[in-house]
C-alpha cells in the first residue's frame, strides 16, 4: 500500500509536469542568480580590499586650480622667472620644471600646515588620444607615485627603459596584446613590459565624460622621460591620506573649513574616495552586487515559493477524497505526508543544485564582465559553504516547511469530512469590496474581475511578478541611449571634427578661414563649485548650442551665460536665474539665458570676447586657448588635438554593450512574466474547470468564456503595467539622485512615450504567449463536466 501511495503522488506530479517545469525554471533562476552574483563579487572583493590597502589608495583627493593664483603670480621668484602670458600650471611646467615643482611643494605645505594630520602627494596625469588598429583610443598616462596610489604590477615588470610601458590588463586582452608586444603612440614604438593597476583608478573614468570602455582606453605607466615626452592634456591633483584617528572628523574639520582658508585659494574641491566615481564606485558596486543578488533572488524565490505552495495546495485539494479514504483505512498522517514531501524535495533540490552549479559556471564570465569595467585584481573562484547554504539549503528548507504546513493543514481535517465534496469557501473581504465597487457593471464583467481576487495569495504572486518584470523592462528601456546622452549627444550637433588646444610656449598660430576660436578657462567658480568656462564665437558655425527642444540657442550667450543640462540639474539652475560667477578672482553677476541639452560636462558658455575680458580683467578681449576645425590642424602650435571621432568610436562600443544589457534584462523579464502567467492562468482554468463547463452549457461562446476567465489577468497585467511606470520612474529618479549626490554624476535616464508603448506591446505579447496553454485547456473542457457530482 505504501508503494501505492508513492505511485499515486508520482502520477499526480507527473500530470502537472508542464506547470512544475515552469515553476522549476523559476526556482532554478533564484539559485542561479544568487550563486553567480555571490561568487563573482566575492572573487573580486577579497583581493581588491587587500590590494587597495597594500598599495595605499588615497583617502581623498583635492582638485586644484590649474592656473596660478594672483598670490602665486606675485611671488618674487615666479614673477622674475616667467614671461607674460604664462599663467597655467601646464605652461609653467613646460617652461620651467623646477619652478613648477616648487609651486606644487608650496601648495602641499600650505595644506599640511593647516591640517597637520593630512599627508599629500601630487598626482600627475596626462590624457591623450592615439590611433590603434585604425581606431582612436584614449590613454591616461599616470606618473609613478611614491607614497599614495602606488602602481601595482599585476603581471610582468615596471617599465625600466624609456621605450617600455605598462598598460591595463583588460585593454591588452581586448586588443590581443601580450607582454613583449609593441604599442605605437605618436609614431613611437613602446614595448609592453607589464600590466598595471592604480588604486585611484579602479573605475576607468578619465574625466567627466562617461567613456569607460576598456577596449578603447587604457591607463599607462612609463618612465619619467617617456611621461614628459608624450604630449597630452595634463591633469594635476593632490592625493591625500588622513591620520587614522581623524578619519571620522574629516568632513567637519577639513571639507567644511578648507574653502574658508585664504592661504588655500588654489583648492577647488575636496572629495572623499567613497564619493569619487573613479576610485570609490567599486565599494558601492560590490555592496550593490551583493544586495542586488540577494534581493533579486529573494523576489524570484518568493514568487516560486508562492507558486509551489499554490500547486501543492491544489494537488491536495484534488486528492481530498483519496486522502479521506486512505485515512479512513487507518493510515497515519505522517505516512500520507511523507510521499508528498519526498516528491517536493525531488522537485526542488535538484533544481536548486542545478541552479547553483550553473551559477558557479556563470560566476567566471560574470566576474569578467565586472572586470570589463573595473580595473581590479582577481583571484580564482572558490566555493564556500555560506553561498552553498544560502543558495540551496535555505530556500529548500522554506519550500519544505511551507509544504509541510499546507499538507498538515489538509491532513488535520477529519476523514469523514474529507470524503464529502469540498463546499466552496466563504467570499473574502477583497472580493466583497471589489463586488461593491463594481455593483453597476454587468455580471460577466464582475465575474471576470472577481474570481482572481478569490485567492489573494495567487493574486499577490501574479501581481508582484508582473510588476517586477515590467519595472525591469522599464529600467532596461531607460538605459537605452544613456551612454549616447552622456557622451556624444552634444557632439553630434556640432560640425567640427577636431578640437585643438594651443601650446602657449610655442606662440600663437594664425587662424585659418575654416577655423574658429574658443577660450577654455577651467577654473571658473560658482560659489564653492569649480567649473570650466567656455568662450565661443557668437556667430560660429562649428560649435552651436541646442536646448532640449532642438532650438539653436548659441546667440543667447550674447548678454549672459548658457549652462549645460548636467550643471543645471546638479545646481538646480533655471533660465532667468542670476549666477555669481568668479573668474580670475573677480565675481560677475550673470543671467542664465539658456540650458543646452548636454549631460557630458559641467560647463558655462560665454561669448569669447566677454570671457577673455573677464579672464584678463578687461585688458584683452582676443584671448583664446584653441580652435575648432574640420581639417586636422598642422604645425607645432597645438599641444593637444582631439578627434571627435575618437569619442564617438568609444561611445558606440559602450552603447553596444548597453544595448546587450538592455536586451538581456528584457529577455529575463519576459521569461519571468511568461512563466508566471503560464502557471497561474493554467491554474485559473483548472480552478474554474466546472464554471467554464457551466458557462459553455449556458450558451456563452468560446470567446466570451476565455474573456471571462483570462481577460481579468489581462486587465490586472495592464494595471500592474500602469503602476510599474511611476514605480520605475521613482526608482530611476532615486538612482539618478544617488549618483548625483554621491558621485556628482548625472545619469540622464529617459523613458519616452514610444518606449512605454513598446513595453506594453512586449507585455501583451508575453501575456498571449503565457496564456496560450490556458486557452487551449479551456477549449478542451467538456460540457458534461458540469453534470458531475463529485468534483476533483
Amino acid at each position: 500500500m505504501k508503494k501505492t501511495l508513492y505511485n499515486n503522488v508520482k502520477a499526480t506530479f507527473k500530470s502537472k509536469w508542464l506547470q512544475l517545469t515552469a515553476i522549476g525554471i523559476i526556482i532554478m533562476m533564484s539559485s542561479l542568480i544568487y550563486t553567480t552574483m555571490s561568487y563573482s563579487v566575492s572573487s573580486l572583493e577579497m583581493p581588491t580590499m587587500a590590494y587597495l590597502e597594500e598599495y595605499v589608495q588615497e583617502d581623498f583627493s583635492i582638485e586644484v586650480l590649474e592656473i596660478m593664483t594672483v598670490q602665486e603670480l606675485l611671488e618674487q621668484h615666479i614673477k622674475e622667472s616667467i614671461p607674460p602670458g604664462i599663467f597655467t600650471l601646464n605652461d609653467l611646467r613646460r617652461y620651467d620644471q623646477a619652478l613648477f615643482r616648487a609651486l606644487i611643494t608650496d601648495r602641499i605645505e600650505a595644506v599640511e600646515n593647516i591640517y597637520p594630520y593630512l599627508e599629500l602627494e601630487l598626482r600627475e596625469l596626462k590624457q591623450f588620444y592615439y590611433n590603434h588598429a585604425g581606431q582612436n583610443h584614449q590613454a591616461l598616462l599616470v606618473k609613478d607615485a611614491e607614497i599614495i596610489n602606488l602602481s601595482y604590477i599585476e603581471k610582468g615588470i615596471k617599465p625600466e627603459q624609456d621605450h617600455e610601458i605598462a598598460i591595463s590588463r583588460i585593454y591588452a586582452k581586448k586588443n590581443s596584446l601580450e607582454i613583449g608586444d609593441t604599442l605605437t603612440i605618436e609614431k613611437a614604438d613602446y614595448t609592453i613590459s607589464g600590466f598595471v593597476l592604480f588604486p585611484d583608478y579602479t573605475f576607468p573614468m578619465f574625466d567627466n565624460t562617461f567613456l569607460i570602455d576598456n577596449s578603447m582606453q587604457t591607463l599607462i605607466l612609463t618612465t619619467e622621460n617617456t611621461f614628459q615626452a608624450i604630449s597630452g592634456h595634463n591633469i594635476y591633483r593632490l592625493s591625500g591620506l588622513i591620520a587614522e584617528d581623524k578619519k571620522d572628523d574629516f568632513k567637519s574639520q577639513v571639507i567644511d573649513t578648507i574653502y574658508d582658508q585664504p592661504e588655500l585659494d588654489f583648492v577647488l574641491s575636496v572629495v572623499l574616495t567613497e564619493n569619487q566615481m573613479r576610485s570609490g564606485a567599486i565599494y558601492d558596486e560590490l555592496k550593490g552586487g551583493r544586495v542586488f543578488s540577494l534581493g533579486f533572488s529573494i523576489i524570484i524565490a518568493g514568487i516560486a515559493m508562492v507558486m509551489v505552495s499554490l500547486l501543492v495546495h491544489r494537488i491536495l485539494k484534488a486528492q481530498r477524497a483519496q486522502i479521506g479514504v486512505i485515512r479512513a483505512l487507518g493510515y497515519k498522517s505522517k505516512e500520507i505526508a511523507i510521499p508528498f514531501i519526498i516528491f517536493i524535495l525531488l522537485l526542488v533540490l535538484p533544481l536548486l543544485i542545478v541552479g547553483y552549479f550553473i551559477g558557479l559556471l556563470a560566476a567566471g564570465p560574470m566576474r569578467d564582465l565586472y572586470l570589463d569595467f573595473y580595473l581590479l585584481p582577481t583571484e580564482a573562484l572558490y566555493q564556500n559553504w555560506l553561498v552553498f547554504t544560502t543558495a540551496i539549503i535555505a530556500p529548500l528548507l522554506v519550500f519544505v516547511i511551507l509544504s509541510v504546513l499546507i499538507i498538515h493543514n489538509m491532513l488535520s481535517i477529519k476523514p469523514l469530512d474529507l470524503l464529502n465534496p469540498d463546499r466552496e469557501g466563504e467570499v473574502n473581504r477583497l472580493t466583497r469590496t471589489a463586488n461593491y465597487l463594481l455593483k453597476k457593471v454587468r455580471p460577466k464583467t464582475k465575474f471576470k474581475y472577481l474570481y482572481i481576487l478569490k485567492n489573494s495569495t495567487k493574486f499577490f504572486a501574479f501581481f508582484t511578478g508582473i510588476l517586477f518584470s515590467t519595472i525591469l523592462i522599464f529600467i532596461a528601456f531607460a538605459m537605452n541611449g544613456l551612454v549616447e546622452r552622456m557622451t556624444t549627444a552634444t557632439f553630434e550637433n556640432t560640425e567640427y571634427q577636431y578640437q585643438a588646444y594651443i601650446d602657449i610656449t610655442k606662440g600663437l598660430p594664425v587662424i585659418q578661414e575654416d577655423q574658429e576660436k574658443f577660450l577654455s578657462y577651467p577654473n571658473a567658480a560658482l560659489g564653492k563649485i569649480s567649473l570650466t568656462a567656455m568662450g565661443l564665437e557668437i556667430d560660429n558655425q562649428l560649435y552651436n548650442l541646442y536646448n532640449d527642444k532642438g532650438e539653436n540657442i548659441t546667440r543667447k550667450i550674447k548678454n549672459g551665460v548658457v549652462v549645460t543640462k548636467s550643471l543645471s540639474i546638479k545646481q538646480n539652475i533655471l533660465p532667468g536665474d542670476m549666477l555669481d560667477i568668479s573668474i580670475a578672482s573677480r565675481t560677475y553677476p550673470l543671467e542664465v539665458k539658456g540650458i543646452t541639452e548636454d549631460y557630458s560636462a559641467d560647463l558655462l558658455y560665454f561669448e569669447i570676447e566677454a570671457l577673455s575680458n573677464m579672464v584678463t580683467g578687461g585688458k584683452d578681449e582676443t584671448l583664446f586657448s584653441g580652435i575648432y576645425t574640420d581639417q586636422k590642424p598642422t604645425g607645432d602650435f597645438y599641444a593637444v588635438i582631439i578627434d571627435k571621432e575618437a569619442i564617438a568610436d568609444q561611445a558606440l562600443l559602450m552603447q553596444r554593450f548597453m544595448d546587450y544589457t538592455v536586451n538581456f534584462f528584457i529577455a529575463i523579464s519576459c521569461l519571468i512574466a511568461v512563466l508566471i502567467l503560464f502557471v497561474l492562468t493554467t491554474m485559473a482554468v483548472e480552478d474554474n474547470y466546472y464554471n467554464i463547463s457551466l458557462l459553455k452549457v449556458m450558451g456563452y461562446r468560446k470567446k466570451e468564456v476565455n474573456a471571462m476567465i483570462l481577460d481579468s489577468y489581462l486587465i490586472y497585467t495592464i494595471l500592474s503595467f500602469l503602476i510599474s511606470i511611476p514605480l520605475a520612474l521613482i526608482f530611476l529618479s532615486w538612482t539618478s539622485d544617488f549618483f548625483t549626490t554621491n558621485y556628482d554624476l548625472v545619469f540622464p535616464f529617459e523613458i519616452r512615450l514610444i518606449q512605454i508603448l513598446m513595453a506594453l506591446g512586449i507585455l501583451l505579447a508575453v501575456f498571449f504567449a503565457g496564456t496560450w496553454n490556458a486557452k487551449k485547456k479551456a477549449a478542451g473542457i467538456s460540457l458534461q463536466e458540469t453534470l458531475k457530482a463529485y468534483r476533483e
Binding site: Y451, M698, L783
Partner: protein, 232 residues
C-alpha cells in the same frame, strides 16, 4: 418541437465499446412536461445531453423545430443553447463569487429579451436574498437561484437533471412547484430527468428508459400538483 429518430450514442474507451443509446425515437411537443425515468446507467443523462446539444449522437437525427441539430457545428450548437435552452442540475452550479442576483443576471446577459432578474428571484421566493452569496444560502435556495438563472432568459425548453436530487422533501416540492408554474404559466417545455417516480406524476408524458432503450412511454392522464407528489 424536438424530434429524435433512431438516435444512437456509442462511447469507446480503449477496445471497449459501450452503446449508451440504442436507437431512440421520441418527439417532444411545445409546452409539454416530460419526465424521463430510469435506473442508473439506463441512458437518461446521455439522452438529455444529446437532445440539448451538450453532446453529439453517433447516429440518428435530432430536429429542433424542423432544423437538423446533428448538422450544427460547435458554434451553432452554442447559439442554439443560448437562444432556446435552460438547464437545472442536481449540483446548483452557482458562481461562488457572485451574489444571487448576479448569478441570475449571468443568465439574463445572454438573452436578447430577458425577464427582469429581480422579479424572477421574487417569483422563486428569494426577494430577501438577492445580495447574498451562494455560501450564505441553503441548498434549496441555491437550487431556486439556479432555476431563476435558467428561466430569466425565457428558454423554450428547460432541461432539469435530477433537480431535487440534493434536496429534502419540503424544499424539493417548492422547487417542483416553481417548475410546474413555469410550464403552466409561461408555457416553457420541461424535460426532467429523475429516478424519483413521484415526480413523474406531474408530467404530461413519462418516458421510461432501460439499457439505452425507451422501454415505455406513458401518457399521464391524471397530472397532479407539485405539493401532492408522493415522496420516497
Amino acid at each position: 418541437m424536438i424530434a429524435l429518430k433512431d438516435v444512437v450514442k456509442t462511447y469507446k474507451i480503449g477496445p471497449v465499446e459501450t452503446k449508451a443509446l440504442k436507437g431512440i425515437t421520441l418527439t417532444i411537443n411545445e409546452g409539454e412536461f416530460i419526465v424521463i425515468l430510469g435506473p442508473s446507467g439506463s441512458g437518461k443523462s446521455t439522452l438529455l445531453n444529446v437532445i440539448s446539444g451538450l453532446d453529439t449522437p453517433t447516429a440518428g437525427s435530432i430536429k429542433f423545430r424542423g432544423l437538423e441539430l446533428t448538422d450544427y457545428n460547435e458554434e451553432q450548437l452554442t447559439q442554439f443553447r443560448r437562444e432556446h435552452l435552460g438547464f437545472v442540475f442536481q449540483q446548483y452550479n452557482l458562481l461562488h463569487n457572485l451574489t444571487a442576483l448576479d448569478n441570475v443576471r449571468m443568465g439574463a446577459d445572454i438573452s436578447e429579451a430577458p425577464l427582469d432578474s429581480k422579479e424572477v428571484l421574487a417569483k422563486v421566493g428569494l426577494t430577501d436574498h438577492v445580495d447574498k452569496y451562494p455560501y450564505q444560502l441553503s441548498g434549496g435556495e441555491q437550487q431556486r437561484v439556479s432555476v431563476a438563472r435558467s428561466v430569466v432568459k425565457k428558454p423554450s425548453i428547460l432541461f432539469c437533471d435530477e433537480p431535487t436530487g440534493a434536496l429534502d422533501e419540503q424544499i424539493a416540492k417548492q422547487v417542483l412547484g416553481i417548475l410546474e408554474e413555469l410550464n403552466q404559466k409561461l408555457g416553457v417545455t420541461l424535460v426532467v430527468i429523475t429516478h424519483n417516480k413521484g415526480i413523474s406524476q406531474m408530467a404530461d408524458r413519462i418516458v421510461k428508459m432501460n439499457s439505452g432503450n425507451i422501454e415505455e412511454i406513458i401518457v399521464n392522464e391524471q397530472k397532479i400538483a407539485a405539493e401532492m407528489v408522493g415522496w420516497g
